[in-house]
Symmetry: C2
Subunit: 395 residues, 2 copies
Amino acid sequence: MGRKVAIIGCGMSKFGRRDDKDLMGLLVEASTRSLGDAGVGRKDIDAVYVASMLCGELTHQTAIASALADELLVLPAAAERIENGPASGASAVKNAYAAVASGLYETVLVTGGEKMRHAPGPIVTDLIATITHPTAEYVHGVTLPSLAGMLTRLYMQRYGLEPRHLALVAIKNHNNGLKNPYAHLHRKITLEGIYLEPEAKLNNPPVADPLRMYYCCPITDGAASVVITSAEKAKKFNDTPVTVAGIGHATDTLAVHEREDPAVLKAVQISSQRAFDMAKSEPKAIDVIELHDAFEILELAESEDAGFFEKGTAHKAVEEGVTELDGDLPINPSGGLKARGHPVGATGVAQIVELTWQLRGDAGERQVSGAEQAYALNFGGFGNNVVSFVLKRSD
Amino acid sequence: MGRKVAIIGCGMSKFGRRDDKDLMGLLVEASTRSLGDAGVGRKDIDAVYVASMLCGELTHQTAIASALADELLVLPAAAERIENGPASGASAVKNAYAAVASGLYETVLVTGGEKMRHAPGPIVTDLIATITHPTAEYVHGVTLPSLAGMLTRLYMQRYGLEPRHLALVAIKNHNNGLKNPYAHLHRKITLEGIYLEPEAKLNNPPVADPLRMYYCCPITDGAASVVITSAEKAKKFNDTPVTVAGIGHATDTLAVHEREDPAVLKAVQISSQRAFDMAKSEPKAIDVIELHDAFEILELAESEDAGFFEKGTAHKAVEEGVTELDGDLPINPSGGLKARGHPVGATGVAQIVELTWQLRGDAGERQVSGAEQAYALNFGGFGNNVVSFVLKRSD
């Protein structure tokens, strides 16, 4: 009903341990790159959306979108921050989409970022756990790794998943990350090193049984940014704009135990279906995918519930190499959260950046050849808030 | 360009010291009232926007929109939180507007809330100061009351404002608040009690010279909520929908000292002009106004820069009673932030609630008779992020 919307610019900061910059520095680094890539001037920007989950808690700064607008000299552009837990990035892109599609704005900058590595790990784990149910989960010590451990156990019991499959996903994503200059982890890992004993015992310590360190994403500093505008205007700026063809967003029960079947990610199913319906597309049409593998079990479960594999079979597809960069259905060419890293507010935007590069043919060594349609999934809560995108190479 | 959007329901929690409920309890209280007022069913809600500035810092809960969607049983509705400092509420309504106008959603719930009174005052003042410039203001001890004190001093030097005028604004707003059952402060105040010596010395202690306690809003717990939908659908639910006719949003420099003239609220001027342009209206057409009087000086300055009075003359209009409930241009019939209170994330939504009631003729004892057009201004940062609305009684 609204007008068509396209992505005309994208950029990222280097992800990793970024002691050299504060959060604002990272947001500016990514933003100036996406503005430069889009070729828009400062006066073209009508609004700035910032996605950040924990800027108040970890950086002691609020209303940070106003601060970014000031730093970028795009005043008097509108500015606001979107916080939606680990799905903050996709939520921000969605709202920017709606602002442009409605005609309220013409051109919008969306930048997601998080500065996390300066805080002690247990503090970060606790702050991320503030997305869980406050009385049914949080107060009992539930954390995101513990929920992911339980989901992994369910998959092992029900579908014959073995921890080896998680290792294979991690190895694939680390291999992809080696080809991504922006990735946090540039480290080749092997089954011998992280799975087969005796080395694995030392190299890959338990986090939340059966999850081990290499089956979880790292804590990362970083930012990612896109510039979006109306499809009509996009062609003036960019020869290869990418169309935001479908957006799906769905919630599920906050407490995981309230779900009929905790192994089924219902919000993934619904958000994915909604995105495909809006895009008039289907999983079969997708050439390249970015999923939210904060834990490697999630890449498998999401790829099933989003409609790419039958339930309980994704680990077999991984074993067969289907999701490798040169496989039939490449997943996380960027390295995913596992290797690119997971600066929480940045992640949903970084997924869109990677897919935009893929659809434009700008993904360098990790280019999926001939990609025409792409799918991204940003996963908030423990599956209680999920945003899916279908992007298309513009005609 | 997008389709027309209307407000079909609104509701508020009682504002005040609400030790009886946590933040979620307040959000639910306001939300169930607006859903009930709209007469929509749970399945009608496509998305939930929550405005909250400090839920992470003060309540240790993030991704709170997902939690509200769960509590209200509106799953699998989309959900996200908007944080834009003290302008969070209006930002959330703006994004809900865009989501409906673009056709992405049909019917959206917007609820703003904050739970603040359980925290020590200095902690709250510090957390609110995290909206100021981190290196040019915050680290030097700048707080919002200190900035408001300086603006007041400028007005005194330049325009002949006297503290007595601030007292008159406060007295007006307390009088209006007495007629608002949802207001935090139900307390009649007088010039004798808060301004004339010797009583004033005891009753109205200094906060940031020349500001005294009664020239500042209180710290408040509370929530406010609206339901919006397409104008087309609105008539099915409601005989008296209110049209969101204009929205303007503008930023200014983060650091106040960087402005050409710190007594001029440029973002107020621009956001107001944008809202009037979009609504094809003008200040003269407005019948009732809600302004962001976190400090009473702001009601005066905003009313000037938004276009209702010549610069430097609003205090004279107050003296003449123009802005009283029965004056020519009633400002803050709700009691404003001064008497209704200022649960930060709730405020921008509460302004829209009050004006919706005014335009529907549902404002009880504080009804401005025959109100057809209304204006709201939500003020973030110290004027660096401002959102204006023009609402109209639907035809």
